[in-house]
Protein backbone atom coordinates (compact mmCIF):
# COMPACT_ATOMS: atom_id res chain seq x y z
CA UNK A 1 0.00 0.00 0.00
CA UNK A 2 1.19 3.49 -0.86
CA UNK A 3 0.57 6.15 1.78
CA UNK A 4 -0.03 9.66 0.46
CA UNK A 5 1.13 11.81 3.32
CA UNK A 6 -1.62 14.19 4.41
CA UNK A 7 -0.22 17.13 6.37
CA UNK A 8 -2.84 19.68 5.39
CA UNK A 9 -1.34 20.64 2.04
CA UNK A 10 -3.07 20.81 -1.35
CA UNK A 11 -2.76 18.21 -4.07
CA UNK A 12 -3.68 15.11 -2.09
CA UNK A 13 -7.09 14.77 -3.75
CA UNK A 14 -5.59 14.80 -7.25
CA UNK A 15 -2.99 12.15 -6.40
CA UNK A 16 -5.60 9.88 -4.77
CA UNK A 17 -7.89 10.30 -7.78
CA UNK A 18 -5.19 9.24 -10.23
CA UNK A 19 -3.97 6.27 -8.19
CA UNK A 20 -7.57 5.08 -7.88
CA UNK A 21 -7.97 5.45 -11.65
CA UNK A 22 -4.95 3.23 -12.38
CA UNK A 23 -5.92 0.70 -9.72
CA UNK A 24 -3.00 1.25 -7.34
CA UNK A 25 -3.78 0.64 -3.69
CA UNK A 26 -3.21 3.86 -1.80
CA UNK A 27 -4.46 5.78 1.20
CA UNK A 28 -4.18 9.48 1.90
CA UNK A 29 -3.52 9.66 5.62
CA UNK A 30 -2.02 11.60 8.49
CA UNK A 31 -2.42 8.63 10.85
CA UNK A 32 0.94 7.16 11.96
CA UNK A 33 -0.59 3.68 12.32
CA UNK A 34 -1.64 3.73 8.65
CA UNK A 35 1.65 5.20 7.47
CA UNK A 36 3.60 2.62 9.51
CA UNK A 37 2.06 -0.12 7.35
CA UNK A 38 2.84 1.53 4.01
CA UNK A 39 5.45 0.00 1.75
CA UNK A 40 5.84 3.20 -0.28
CA UNK A 41 5.29 6.87 0.42
CA UNK A 42 4.26 9.87 -1.63
CA UNK A 43 5.04 13.30 -0.19
CA UNK A 44 2.88 15.92 -1.93
CA UNK A 45 3.43 19.64 -1.65
CA UNK A 46 2.15 22.86 -3.15
CA UNK A 47 2.45 26.47 -2.13
CA UNK A 48 5.07 28.12 0.00
CA UNK A 49 8.19 26.14 1.02
CA UNK A 50 8.19 27.37 4.63
CA UNK A 51 4.48 26.70 5.12
CA UNK A 52 4.88 23.15 3.78
CA UNK A 53 7.94 22.49 6.00
CA UNK A 54 6.20 23.86 9.10
CA UNK A 55 3.08 21.80 8.45
CA UNK A 56 5.18 18.69 7.86
CA UNK A 57 7.19 19.21 11.05
CA UNK A 58 3.99 19.66 13.02
CA UNK A 59 2.47 16.46 11.67
CA UNK A 60 2.13 13.39 13.87
CA UNK A 61 4.18 11.30 11.49
CA UNK A 62 7.29 13.48 11.12
CA UNK A 63 9.54 11.11 13.14
CA UNK A 64 7.98 8.06 11.54
CA UNK A 65 8.64 9.51 8.07
CA UNK A 66 12.35 9.74 8.91
CA UNK A 67 12.41 6.18 10.19
CA UNK A 68 10.55 4.76 7.18
CA UNK A 69 12.73 6.58 4.67
CA UNK A 70 16.16 6.62 6.31
CA UNK A 71 16.15 3.34 8.30
CA UNK A 72 13.64 1.06 6.59
CA UNK A 73 14.60 2.64 3.26
CA UNK A 74 11.18 2.23 1.69
CA UNK A 75 10.71 4.01 -1.67
CA UNK A 76 9.37 7.55 -1.40
CA UNK A 77 8.42 10.06 -4.04
CA UNK A 78 8.23 13.80 -3.41
CA UNK A 79 6.00 15.80 -5.74
CA UNK A 80 6.54 19.51 -6.56
CA UNK A 81 7.26 21.22 -3.21
CA UNK A 82 7.45 17.65 -1.85
CA UNK A 83 10.49 17.25 -4.12
CA UNK A 84 11.94 20.62 -3.11
CA UNK A 85 11.66 19.72 0.59
CA UNK A 86 14.14 16.87 0.03
CA UNK A 87 16.87 19.47 -0.32
CA UNK A 88 18.76 21.30 2.44
CA UNK A 89 17.58 24.88 1.90
CA UNK A 90 15.32 27.00 -0.29
CA UNK A 91 15.64 30.56 -1.51
CA UNK A 92 11.89 30.85 -1.02
CA UNK A 93 12.08 30.76 2.75
CA UNK A 94 14.06 30.37 5.95
CA UNK A 95 12.97 26.91 7.00
CA UNK A 96 15.50 24.12 6.59
CA UNK A 97 14.48 21.36 4.23
CA UNK A 98 14.66 17.64 5.03
CA UNK A 99 18.22 17.67 3.69
CA UNK A 100 18.06 14.11 2.37
CA UNK A 101 19.58 15.22 -0.91
CA UNK A 102 22.52 17.62 -0.84
CA UNK A 103 21.76 20.88 -2.55
CA UNK A 104 19.31 23.76 -2.53
CA UNK A 105 16.15 25.11 -4.10
CA UNK A 106 16.64 28.25 -6.18
CA UNK A 107 14.37 30.70 -7.95
CA UNK A 108 14.33 30.72 -11.76
CA UNK A 109 17.02 33.14 -12.83
CA UNK A 110 15.08 35.73 -14.84
CA UNK A 111 18.31 37.38 -16.01
CA UNK A 112 19.30 34.18 -17.81
CA UNK A 113 15.94 33.90 -19.57
CA UNK A 114 14.10 35.71 -22.32
CA UNK A 115 11.74 38.38 -20.98
CA UNK A 116 8.79 36.67 -22.67
CA UNK A 117 9.15 33.73 -20.27
CA UNK A 118 7.12 34.53 -17.20
CA UNK A 119 7.61 33.19 -13.70
CA UNK A 120 5.98 30.96 -12.45
CA UNK A 121 6.76 28.39 -15.13
CA UNK A 122 3.22 27.13 -15.68
CA UNK A 123 3.24 24.88 -18.73
CA UNK A 124 3.38 21.44 -20.20
CA UNK A 125 7.05 20.81 -20.85
CA UNK A 126 8.99 17.91 -22.33
CA UNK A 127 11.32 16.18 -19.92
CA UNK A 128 14.51 14.37 -20.84
CA UNK A 129 15.15 11.43 -18.51
CA UNK A 130 18.39 9.53 -18.03
CA UNK A 131 18.28 5.96 -19.36
CA UNK A 132 18.58 4.44 -15.93
CA UNK A 133 15.61 6.12 -14.25
CA UNK A 134 12.79 3.61 -13.90
CA UNK A 135 10.10 6.23 -13.28
CA UNK A 136 10.03 6.97 -17.00
CA UNK A 137 10.17 3.35 -18.21
CA UNK A 138 8.17 2.86 -21.37
CA UNK A 139 7.00 6.48 -21.61
CA UNK A 140 7.57 7.81 -25.14
CA UNK A 141 8.23 11.56 -25.42
CA UNK A 142 7.32 12.28 -21.81
CA UNK A 143 5.81 15.65 -21.08
CA UNK A 144 4.39 16.87 -17.82
CA UNK A 145 2.55 19.78 -16.29
CA UNK A 146 4.77 22.13 -14.29
CA UNK A 147 3.77 24.95 -11.95
CA UNK A 148 6.71 26.42 -10.06
CA UNK A 149 8.89 29.47 -9.56
CA UNK A 150 11.72 27.53 -7.90
CA UNK A 151 13.66 24.45 -8.91
CA UNK A 152 16.15 22.14 -7.20
CA UNK A 153 19.90 22.38 -7.65
CA UNK A 154 21.73 19.17 -6.66
CA UNK A 155 25.33 19.32 -5.42
CA UNK A 156 25.83 16.01 -7.22
CA UNK A 157 24.56 16.39 -10.81
CA UNK A 158 24.56 12.59 -11.01
CA UNK A 159 21.39 12.54 -8.88
CA UNK A 160 19.38 14.40 -11.53
CA UNK A 161 17.20 11.80 -13.28
CA UNK A 162 15.57 14.13 -15.83
CA UNK A 163 15.96 17.66 -17.07
CA UNK A 164 13.52 20.08 -18.66
CA UNK A 165 14.05 23.41 -20.33
CA UNK A 166 12.52 26.72 -19.34
CA UNK A 167 14.91 29.45 -20.35
CA UNK A 168 17.66 27.02 -19.41
CA UNK A 169 17.91 23.35 -18.42
CA UNK A 170 16.87 22.58 -14.86
CA UNK A 171 16.36 19.40 -12.83
CA UNK A 172 12.87 18.02 -13.43
CA UNK A 173 13.46 15.02 -11.16
CA UNK A 174 16.05 13.66 -8.73
CA UNK A 175 16.81 10.35 -7.08
CA UNK A 176 19.17 9.24 -4.35
CA UNK A 177 18.70 5.58 -3.46
CA UNK A 178 15.15 5.01 -2.24
CA UNK A 179 14.40 8.75 -2.26
CA UNK A 180 12.96 10.29 -5.43
CA UNK A 181 11.35 13.58 -6.30
CA UNK A 182 9.64 15.11 -9.31
CA UNK A 183 9.22 18.84 -9.78
CA UNK A 184 6.16 18.47 -12.04
CA UNK A 185 2.66 17.21 -11.30
CA UNK A 186 2.21 13.64 -12.61
CA UNK A 187 -1.33 13.59 -11.16
CA UNK A 188 -2.25 16.37 -13.60
CA UNK A 189 -0.40 14.99 -16.62
CA UNK A 190 -2.86 12.58 -18.24
CA UNK A 191 -1.41 9.23 -19.37
CA UNK A 192 2.17 10.40 -18.80
CA UNK A 193 1.44 10.79 -15.11
CA UNK A 194 -0.51 7.53 -14.94
CA UNK A 195 2.47 5.69 -16.42
CA UNK A 196 4.87 7.36 -14.00
CA UNK A 197 2.80 6.46 -10.92
CA UNK A 198 2.32 2.95 -12.30
CA UNK A 199 6.12 2.66 -12.63
CA UNK A 200 6.62 3.96 -9.10
CA UNK A 201 4.15 1.40 -7.78
CA UNK A 202 5.55 -1.58 -9.75
CA UNK A 203 9.26 -0.96 -10.28
CA UNK A 204 10.27 0.63 -6.99
Amino acid sequence: MIAILDYGIGNIGSISNMLRKIGVKAAASSDPSVIANADKLILPGVGHFDYCMQQLKNSDFYELLHKKVLEDKIPMLGVCVGCQMLMETSEEGREKGLGWIKGSVVRFKADQMSASLKIPHMDWTEVHPTDSCLLYSGIANPRFYFVHSYHVLCDDPGLVTATAKYGYDFAASVQSGNISGVQFHPEKSHRFGMDLYRNFSKLY
Binding site: P120, M122, Y145
Partner: protein
Protein backbone atom coordinates in the same frame (compact mmCIF):
# COMPACT_ATOMS: atom_id res chain seq x y z
CA UNK B 1 10.14 23.54 -28.43
CA UNK B 2 8.06 26.03 -26.49
CA UNK B 3 4.50 24.91 -25.84
CA UNK B 4 1.75 27.18 -24.73
CA UNK B 5 -1.35 26.09 -22.89
CA UNK B 6 -4.57 25.92 -24.89
CA UNK B 7 -7.42 26.03 -22.39
CA UNK B 8 -11.12 25.30 -22.98
CA UNK B 9 -13.32 27.50 -20.76
CA UNK B 10 -16.55 25.90 -19.63
CA UNK B 11 -19.41 28.03 -18.34
CA UNK B 12 -21.89 26.64 -15.85
CA UNK B 13 -25.34 28.22 -15.73
CA UNK B 14 -28.21 26.66 -13.79
CA UNK B 15 -26.06 23.50 -13.31
CA UNK B 16 -25.77 22.96 -17.06
CA UNK B 17 -22.94 23.75 -19.44
CA UNK B 18 -23.66 26.79 -21.62
CA UNK B 19 -21.89 29.04 -24.09
CA UNK B 20 -22.53 32.76 -24.34
CA UNK B 21 -22.17 35.46 -26.94
CA UNK B 22 -20.92 38.81 -25.62
CA UNK B 23 -21.76 37.52 -22.13
CA UNK B 24 -25.44 37.07 -23.17
CA UNK B 25 -27.59 34.65 -25.19
CA UNK B 26 -26.69 31.51 -23.30
CA UNK B 27 -27.03 28.33 -25.24
CA UNK B 28 -27.23 24.97 -23.51
CA UNK B 29 -24.34 22.73 -24.50
CA UNK B 30 -24.68 19.71 -22.23
CA UNK B 31 -23.85 18.16 -18.91
CA UNK B 32 -20.67 19.59 -17.36
CA UNK B 33 -19.37 16.35 -15.88
CA UNK B 34 -19.80 14.55 -19.18
CA UNK B 35 -18.10 17.39 -21.09
CA UNK B 36 -15.12 17.32 -18.73
CA UNK B 37 -14.83 13.58 -19.31
CA UNK B 38 -14.70 14.12 -23.08
CA UNK B 39 -12.11 16.89 -22.74
CA UNK B 40 -10.11 14.59 -20.48
CA UNK B 41 -10.12 11.88 -23.15
CA UNK B 42 -8.86 14.44 -25.65
CA UNK B 43 -5.93 15.17 -23.32
CA UNK B 44 -6.46 18.91 -23.17
CA UNK B 45 -3.74 21.03 -21.56
CA UNK B 46 -5.96 22.48 -18.88
CA UNK B 47 -9.62 23.33 -18.21
CA UNK B 48 -11.20 26.39 -16.67
CA UNK B 49 -14.67 26.04 -15.18
CA UNK B 50 -16.66 29.16 -14.39
CA UNK B 51 -19.99 29.20 -12.60
CA UNK B 52 -21.44 32.39 -14.04
CA UNK B 53 -24.49 32.55 -11.72
CA UNK B 54 -22.82 32.00 -8.36
CA UNK B 55 -21.47 35.50 -7.63
CA UNK B 56 -24.42 37.37 -9.05
CA UNK B 57 -26.93 35.36 -7.10
CA UNK B 58 -24.65 35.04 -4.03
CA UNK B 59 -24.74 31.26 -4.15
CA UNK B 60 -21.91 29.20 -2.72
CA UNK B 61 -19.68 27.10 -4.97
CA UNK B 62 -21.27 23.72 -5.67
CA UNK B 63 -18.56 21.67 -3.97
CA UNK B 64 -20.17 18.34 -4.79
CA UNK B 65 -20.25 19.06 -8.49
CA UNK B 66 -16.68 20.40 -8.34
CA UNK B 67 -15.44 17.24 -6.62
CA UNK B 68 -17.27 15.07 -9.13
CA UNK B 69 -15.69 16.94 -12.02
CA UNK B 70 -12.19 16.74 -10.51
CA UNK B 71 -12.34 13.02 -9.80
CA UNK B 72 -12.35 12.21 -13.52
CA UNK B 73 -10.06 14.95 -14.78
CA UNK B 74 -6.34 14.24 -14.95
CA UNK B 75 -5.30 17.64 -16.19
CA UNK B 76 -4.94 20.99 -14.42
CA UNK B 77 -8.30 22.48 -13.49
CA UNK B 78 -9.31 25.90 -12.36
CA UNK B 79 -12.64 26.93 -10.91
CA UNK B 80 -14.30 30.31 -10.46
CA UNK B 81 -17.68 31.45 -9.22
CA UNK B 82 -19.07 32.40 -5.82
CA UNK B 83 -15.90 31.95 -3.80
CA UNK B 84 -15.84 34.29 -0.80
CA UNK B 85 -14.29 32.24 2.03
CA UNK B 86 -10.81 30.85 2.58
CA UNK B 87 -12.37 27.55 3.73
CA UNK B 88 -14.10 27.22 0.37
CA UNK B 89 -10.75 27.71 -1.35
CA UNK B 90 -9.24 24.98 0.82
CA UNK B 91 -12.12 22.62 0.08
CA UNK B 92 -11.85 23.26 -3.67
CA UNK B 93 -8.07 22.81 -3.78
CA UNK B 94 -8.19 19.65 -1.66
CA UNK B 95 -10.75 18.14 -4.00
CA UNK B 96 -8.31 18.18 -6.89
CA UNK B 97 -8.66 21.65 -8.42
CA UNK B 98 -5.33 23.49 -8.90
CA UNK B 99 -6.48 27.06 -9.04
CA UNK B 100 -9.35 29.21 -7.95
CA UNK B 101 -10.38 32.11 -10.16
CA UNK B 102 -11.57 35.30 -8.52
CA UNK B 103 -13.46 38.08 -10.20
CA UNK B 104 -15.74 40.20 -7.99
CA UNK B 105 -13.85 39.40 -4.77
CA UNK B 106 -10.59 40.59 -6.36
CA UNK B 107 -12.23 43.99 -6.82
CA UNK B 108 -14.19 44.30 -3.60
CA UNK B 109 -11.71 42.58 -1.25
CA UNK B 110 -8.29 42.48 -2.94
CA UNK B 111 -6.69 41.30 0.33
CA UNK B 112 -8.51 37.99 -0.25
CA UNK B 113 -6.02 37.37 -3.09
CA UNK B 114 -3.16 37.76 -0.60
CA UNK B 115 -4.79 35.47 1.93
CA UNK B 116 -5.08 32.72 -0.67
CA UNK B 117 -1.59 33.14 -2.08
CA UNK B 118 0.09 33.29 1.34
CA UNK B 119 -1.55 30.08 2.40
CA UNK B 120 -1.67 28.07 -0.82
CA UNK B 121 0.87 29.79 -3.08
CA UNK B 122 0.47 32.34 -5.87
CA UNK B 123 -0.03 29.54 -8.40
CA UNK B 124 -3.32 28.67 -6.73
CA UNK B 125 -5.08 31.98 -7.40
CA UNK B 126 -5.94 33.56 -10.73
CA UNK B 127 -7.95 36.72 -11.33
CA UNK B 128 -10.38 36.94 -14.19
CA UNK B 129 -10.78 40.39 -15.74
CA UNK B 130 -13.72 41.09 -18.06
CA UNK B 131 -12.99 44.04 -20.34
CA UNK B 132 -14.96 45.94 -22.94
CA UNK B 133 -14.06 48.82 -25.21
CA UNK B 134 -16.41 51.80 -24.90
CA UNK B 135 -17.53 54.12 -27.72
CA UNK B 136 -14.58 56.42 -27.04
CA UNK B 137 -12.19 53.55 -27.60
CA UNK B 138 -11.32 53.32 -23.93
CA UNK B 139 -11.11 49.94 -22.22
CA UNK B 140 -13.25 49.40 -19.16
CA UNK B 141 -13.37 46.57 -16.68
CA UNK B 142 -16.71 44.99 -15.72
CA UNK B 143 -17.75 42.87 -12.79
CA UNK B 144 -20.84 40.75 -12.07
CA UNK B 145 -20.66 38.86 -15.33
CA UNK B 146 -20.35 41.99 -17.44
CA UNK B 147 -23.14 43.97 -15.79
CA UNK B 148 -21.27 46.45 -13.57
CA UNK B 149 -18.64 48.90 -14.71
CA UNK B 150 -15.45 49.36 -12.66
CA UNK B 151 -13.83 52.79 -12.50
CA UNK B 152 -10.15 51.88 -12.29
CA UNK B 153 -7.91 51.40 -15.28
CA UNK B 154 -7.52 47.71 -16.32
CA UNK B 155 -3.72 47.88 -16.61
CA UNK B 156 -3.29 49.44 -13.19
CA UNK B 157 -5.68 46.92 -11.71
CA UNK B 158 -3.83 44.01 -13.27
CA UNK B 159 -0.57 45.27 -11.75
CA UNK B 160 -2.29 45.60 -8.38
CA UNK B 161 -3.66 42.05 -8.58
CA UNK B 162 -0.14 40.80 -9.25
CA UNK B 163 1.17 42.75 -6.27
CA UNK B 164 -1.54 41.24 -4.07
CA UNK B 165 -0.34 37.78 -5.01
CA UNK B 166 -2.32 36.67 -8.06
CA UNK B 167 -0.45 34.02 -10.04
CA UNK B 168 -2.22 34.57 -13.30
CA UNK B 169 -4.69 36.84 -15.12
CA UNK B 170 -7.50 35.49 -17.28
CA UNK B 171 -8.31 38.36 -19.62
CA UNK B 172 -11.77 38.12 -21.14
CA UNK B 173 -12.98 40.38 -23.91
CA UNK B 174 -16.74 40.87 -23.53
CA UNK B 175 -17.06 42.34 -27.07
CA UNK B 176 -15.38 39.36 -28.66
CA UNK B 177 -16.97 36.59 -26.56
CA UNK B 178 -18.54 34.01 -28.87
CA UNK B 179 -18.00 36.12 -32.01
CA UNK B 180 -15.08 34.26 -33.68
CA UNK B 181 -13.61 37.70 -34.53
CA UNK B 182 -10.23 36.96 -32.98
CA UNK B 183 -8.76 38.06 -29.65
CA UNK B 184 -8.63 41.76 -28.78
CA UNK B 185 -4.88 42.05 -29.29
CA UNK B 186 -4.60 45.66 -28.13
CA UNK B 187 -5.83 45.19 -24.56
CA UNK B 188 -4.12 41.82 -24.35
CA UNK B 189 -0.79 43.41 -25.14
CA UNK B 190 -1.35 46.26 -22.71
CA UNK B 191 -2.26 44.02 -19.80
CA UNK B 192 0.48 41.46 -20.59
CA UNK B 193 3.05 44.23 -20.61
CA UNK B 194 1.76 45.65 -17.33
CA UNK B 195 2.46 42.45 -15.35
CA UNK B 196 5.16 39.80 -15.02
CA UNK B 197 2.72 36.95 -14.29
CA UNK B 198 1.15 34.91 -17.12
CA UNK B 199 -1.84 36.41 -18.91
CA UNK B 200 -4.35 34.08 -20.58
CA UNK B 201 -6.15 35.44 -23.63
CA UNK B 202 -9.88 34.75 -23.81
CA UNK B 203 -12.76 35.82 -26.04
CA UNK B 204 -13.12 35.68 -29.80
CA UNK B 205 -10.86 32.84 -30.93
CA UNK B 206 -11.83 31.26 -34.24
CA UNK B 207 -8.87 28.92 -34.63
CA UNK B 208 -5.19 28.19 -34.16
CA UNK B 209 -4.09 31.34 -36.04
CA UNK B 210 -5.74 33.40 -33.33
CA UNK B 211 -3.90 31.43 -30.65
CA UNK B 212 -0.62 32.19 -32.37
CA UNK B 213 -1.37 35.91 -32.69
CA UNK B 214 -2.38 36.16 -29.04
CA UNK B 215 1.14 35.06 -28.16
CA UNK B 216 3.24 36.72 -30.86
CA UNK B 217 1.31 40.04 -31.01
CA UNK B 218 -0.62 40.11 -27.75
CA UNK B 219 2.22 38.72 -25.59
CA UNK B 220 -0.14 36.27 -23.90
CA UNK B 221 1.38 33.29 -22.08
CA UNK B 222 -1.58 30.98 -22.71
CA UNK B 223 -4.82 31.00 -24.67
CA UNK B 224 -8.38 30.10 -23.73
CA UNK B 225 -11.55 29.69 -25.76
CA UNK B 226 -15.11 28.46 -25.47
CA UNK B 227 -17.15 28.37 -28.66
CA UNK B 228 -14.58 26.74 -30.93
CA UNK B 229 -14.25 23.81 -28.52
CA UNK B 230 -17.98 23.17 -28.09
CA UNK B 231 -19.56 24.14 -31.43
CA UNK B 232 -18.99 23.01 -34.94
CA UNK B 233 -19.44 25.65 -37.57
CA UNK B 234 -21.17 26.66 -39.84
CA UNK B 235 -24.38 25.45 -38.18
CA UNK B 236 -23.28 25.67 -34.59
CA UNK B 237 -24.05 22.06 -33.80
CA UNK B 238 -22.78 21.04 -30.38
CA UNK B 239 -19.59 19.06 -30.85
CA UNK B 240 -16.74 18.92 -28.37
CA UNK B 241 -13.40 19.13 -30.13
CA UNK B 242 -9.78 20.03 -29.45
CA UNK B 243 -6.81 20.37 -31.83
CA UNK B 244 -4.60 17.29 -32.19
CA UNK B 245 -1.00 17.31 -30.90
CA UNK B 246 0.24 17.36 -34.52
CA UNK B 247 -1.93 20.35 -35.40
CA UNK B 248 -0.77 22.24 -32.34
CA UNK B 249 2.84 21.47 -33.09
CA UNK B 250 2.71 22.44 -36.76
CA UNK B 251 0.42 25.45 -36.58
CA UNK B 252 1.21 26.82 -33.15
CA UNK B 253 4.35 25.81 -31.24
CA UNK B 254 6.62 25.80 -34.28
CA UNK B 255 5.40 29.29 -35.29
CA UNK B 256 6.19 31.01 -32.02
Amino acid sequence: MKRIRVIPVLLIHKSGLVKSEKFKNYRYVGDPVNAVRIFNDKEVDELAILDIDASRTSTKPNLRQIAEIASEAFMPLSYGGGITQIDEVKEILFNGIEKVILNKMALTQPEFISRISERFGTQSVAVSMDVKKNWLGKYRLYSDNGSKIVREDPEELAARFEKMGAGEILLNSIDRDGTYEGYDIEILQRVSNAVTIPVIACGGASGIDDFRMAVTDGHASAVAAGSIFVFQRPHHAVLISYPSPVELKEKLYSQL
